[in-house]
């Protein structure tokens, strides 16, 4: 019987509408009681966390991470990736299926969730939408769902063909799964390594045009709209746009929602903070897909978050070994790590600089992504929910050092950046999985 009492902290639980001083009692992996501060009795065997002056919030939920297992343990393992997640305040992560082999099967889905992987926090596998992410043959969604996947995607690759995407949407809807699209019309991005525009021209690099993203988002919305009409709206499918990076994609999602479709989107911290200018020294830690975009696009990501069009902040945590990134820019793999900098950057910029209320920042990092993928009992601290908690000092400033990262890889453009909000405790299903020092 393990009991944790979090005493006197400022509880912010956006989904439950709680914003005030509370004692929180966790028992056997669940939230047992929420009481006015000072009211909770200290049980003899309870571990007491003094949260005076600290914020207590639902453990964060990242619906877009690459944990690299099976197959690429030199970049990250489920153990190291989830240790990084815990250090960043995350208690739930959704693992993308572009592993080696790809997550096409119930066996791999179960392997990912097995206790032998030594995950610090809960891992929700996402299944490959098509066999080998090739965009041709659909996997068995019913079997994948039974094994535990929470969505399907070909992330890293788009589902490009209209006919395939239509089948994916239909089948996923029938099985109650979300479809996550990596929106990139690869017919327009061959040989490209950054955003199209004057910076790419100046640097002699081939550029990905923004329409490669928003064109596919618009296509997907059209397909979803057609399917919804076919079934008279009786069973509405869910399309989620991963790592949105262009102003037009945000606009398309917003419009689709006004038209009654279930379309959601996520934005990564690097897309609301950085621009293509960061590529100037051919910094391979500024190389990801979708690429860093123009200033106007970056500002549209901020605006989309402030205006509530964006449903979640997701990191697209994509670890790569040092030697893989220490190569010519065009040859370097896409992606950066993000689990340990997402909260600090979001608080520093969205909350402190741009005055988004703390509750809304936390909602974008927990309640909303949990709801988006239907992760029951996550992203909230109502009684009976999972005892997934992050306790942090919202005022503390600190400097992020890549070398101190728990992730096996250090490929981040945010090395040396000032962060706000220091994580003191991360609790996953009632176990302390990270303790700040």
């Amino acid at each position: 019987m393990s009991v944790i009492l979090i005493k006197g902290g400022h509880l912010i639980d956006p989904a439950a509408g709680v914003d005030g001083l509370r004692d929180v009692v966790l028992r056997d992996g669940r939230v047992a009681e929420i009481m006015a501060a000072g009211k909770a009795k200290v049980e003899a065997d309870a571990q007491v966390i003094d949260a005076k002056g600290l914020t207590v919030a639902p453990g964060l939920v990242d619906i877009h991470v690459h944990l690299r297992e099976p197959g690429q343990g030199h970049k990250e393992t489920i153990a190291t990736g989830t240790a990084a997640a815990a250090a960043g305040g995350f208690t739930s992560v959704a693992a993308m299926p572009n592993t080696v082999p790809t997550n096409d099967s119930p066996e791999i889905t179960r392997w990912i969730q097995a206790p032998e992987r030594k995950a610090s926090v809960r891992v929700f596998p996402i299944g490959a939408a098509t066999r080998g992410l090739k965009g041709e043959v659909l996997n068995d969604y019913a079997a994948l769902k039974a094994a535990g996947v929470v969505a399907v995607t070909d992330d890293g690759h788009p589902i490009l063909k209209d006919s395939t995407m239509r089948e994916v949407l239909k089948n996923a809807t029938r099985n109650g799964l979300s479809v996550i699209q990596h929106a990139e019309d690869t017919r327009l991005t061959g040989g490209c390594s950054m955003n199209a525009g004057v910076t790419a021209f100046r640097l002699g690099l081939r550029g990905m045009p923004p329409e490669a993203e928003y064109g596919l988002v618009e296509r997907d919305i059209r397909l979803l709209s057609e399917l919804t009409r076919e079934v008279n709206g009786s069973k509405v499918g869910h399309l989620h746009v991963a790592h949105t990076s262009t102003a037009q994609a945000i606009a398309a999602v917003s419009q689709a929602r006004r038209n009654g479709l279930r379309v959601t989107c996520e934005v990564a911290p690097h897309h609301f903070l950085l621009t293509e200018e960061h590529v100037r020294a051919y910094n391979t830690n500024a190389k990801m897909n979708p690429p860093l975009r123009s200033i106007a696009d970056r500002d549209a990501m901020i605006q989309g978050i402030l205006d509530g069009v964006v449903d979640a902040i997701a990191t697209d945590h994509a670890p790569h070994a040092a030697h893989e990134k220490e190569v010519e820019f065009e040859r370097a793999p896409n992606g950066i790590t993000g689990l340990e900098s997402a909260l600090g950057l979001s608080l520093r910029w969205l909350h402190h600089e741009w005055k988004l209320p703390l509750g809304r920042v936390l909602s974008l990092l927990s309640a909303q992504p949990a709801a988006l993928l239907g992760l029951k009992g996550r992203g909230t601290l109502t009684v009976g929910s999972f005892a997934d908690v992050v306790v942090f000092d919202p005022k503390a400033e600190w400097v992020f050092r890549a070398k101190d990262s728990r992730s096996k890889s250090k490929n981040t453009p945010f090395d040396g950046w000032t962060m706000q909000g220091k994580v003191w405790w991360t609790i996953s299903e009632g176990r302390v999985v990270f303790k700040g020092v």
Binding site: F201, G204, L205, L274, A281, Y282, E326, E330
Partner: protein
């Protein structure tokens, strides 16, 4: 709509700082003309002249027994030979590593090749590489001064400097240094495959620093409109006659067939619009210098008659290359080594 009002107000808020174009770590590196201020350009031109006029025996003592590596991942005749002659003229020992005759073939990375050359005693590396930005990687990983001898579609700074010296020799005879006004009143038209040309990028960014006006001329597939925003003093004129009429210099570029990447180009149509032939030259720019970085494809971007004609300075360009590269090599091994150490220390 209160939301819109709020949105407008928010647009003025603080954003994370943008990164500037980075300076090289080593003061002796030349990787992009971006870091070449007018003062630096002027010093390089003066040094080139000084070295060219120096007694060859004395000159050969300047870098006696110093080691310079030429690391060439693409074939090259003129640039490689030119750098090699320049380094040898200063007395340096050179070693050529090319992708066809080395461990590069076996999959060694640029980082490891660079570190190996450093361990063998190389004090500077001259790099030609098919990937844009590779000099930054090499410099970052080795800490050695790097001279960019052409990186992908990015830049070819020594070519732009020798082109500048050629232009000065004709249009500003006797001028050995440079200011922001030296080329005031001069219009240079660059014609052809600008999208894929590192020579074009270096020239279009260097010449306006000295006051020149640069007209870019070519079809949209080879010259995107965005090129005009790459720096100050740039314009696009798609009509070759209109561009030539305004120009004292016409710089022709080769079609980079190896970089077209599936782009379909009708060569006959291209020639009819953009080939420099005797008729065009006589009608639109009878007094202009005709330049070309080489290698030339006679009968494609220009005719043999024009290449060999009286307005052509193509071989003079090659000649100026050796002097400019002597200056760059000398500078790489002597310019501000203390500053370079500081820069390295500060970046570790």
């Amino acid at each position: 709509m209160p939301l819109i009002a709020a949105s407008a107000a928010r647009r003025s808020v603080v954003r994370p700082a943008l990164t500037a174009f980075p300076e090289p770590y080593s003061a002796g590196s030349v990787m992009s003309v971006h870091s070449l201020t007018v003062e630096r350009v002027s010093a390089i031109l003066a040094l080139a002249t000084q070295l060219e006029n120096e007694d060859p025996l004395k000159r050969a003592t300047r870098l006696a027994k110093r080691r310079i590596a030429l690391l060439f991942y693409e074939s090259s005749t003129r640039t490689r030979t030119s750098f090699e002659l320049a380094a040898k003229g200063l007395g340096a020992d050179t070693t050529l590593v090319s992708s066809l005759s080395s461990s590069i073939e076996k999959g060694e990375t640029l980082k490891d090749t660079g570190l190996t050359l450093k361990a063998l005693g190389a004090e500077a590396i001259i790099l030609r590489h098919p990937s844009s930005g590779s000099p930054w990687l090499l410099e970052r990983e080795t800490g050695l001064p790097v001279l960019n001898a052409g990186d992908g579609m990015h830049e070819h700074p020594s070519q732009a400097l020798l082109d500048l010296r050629t232009i000065l020799a004709h249009l500003r005879p006797g001028v050995e240094t440079a200011t922001a006004e030296t080329l005031a009143g001069v219009t240079v038209t660059i014609v052809g495959d600008i999208l894929h040309s590192r020579v074009a990028r270096s020239n279009m960014l260097l010449l306006p620093k000295l006051g020149a006006r640069v007209i870019l001329c070519g079809p949209p597939q080879l010259l995107p409109a965005v090129a005009a925003e790459a720096g100050p003093g740039l314009e696009i004129e798609r009509d070759m006659a209109a561009a030539m009429k305004q120009s004292q210099v016409v710089m022709m570029l080769r079609i980079q067939a190896e970089r077209l990447a599936g782009l379909q180009l009708d060569l006959e149509e291209y020639k009819s619009s953009y080939q420099l032939n005797e008729a065009r030259l006589a009608e639109y720019a009878p007094g202009a210098l005709v330049m070309h970085p080489g290698p030339i494809i006679r009968g494609l971007e220009l005719t043999g008659e024009v290449a060999d004609g009286p307005q052509s300075v193509i071989l003079e360009q090659v000649h100026h290359g050796v002097a400019i590269r002597m200056a760059l090599v000398e500078r790489a091994l002597t310019a501000g080594s203390a500053a370079a150490c500081d820069a390295m220390g500060g970046r570790q």
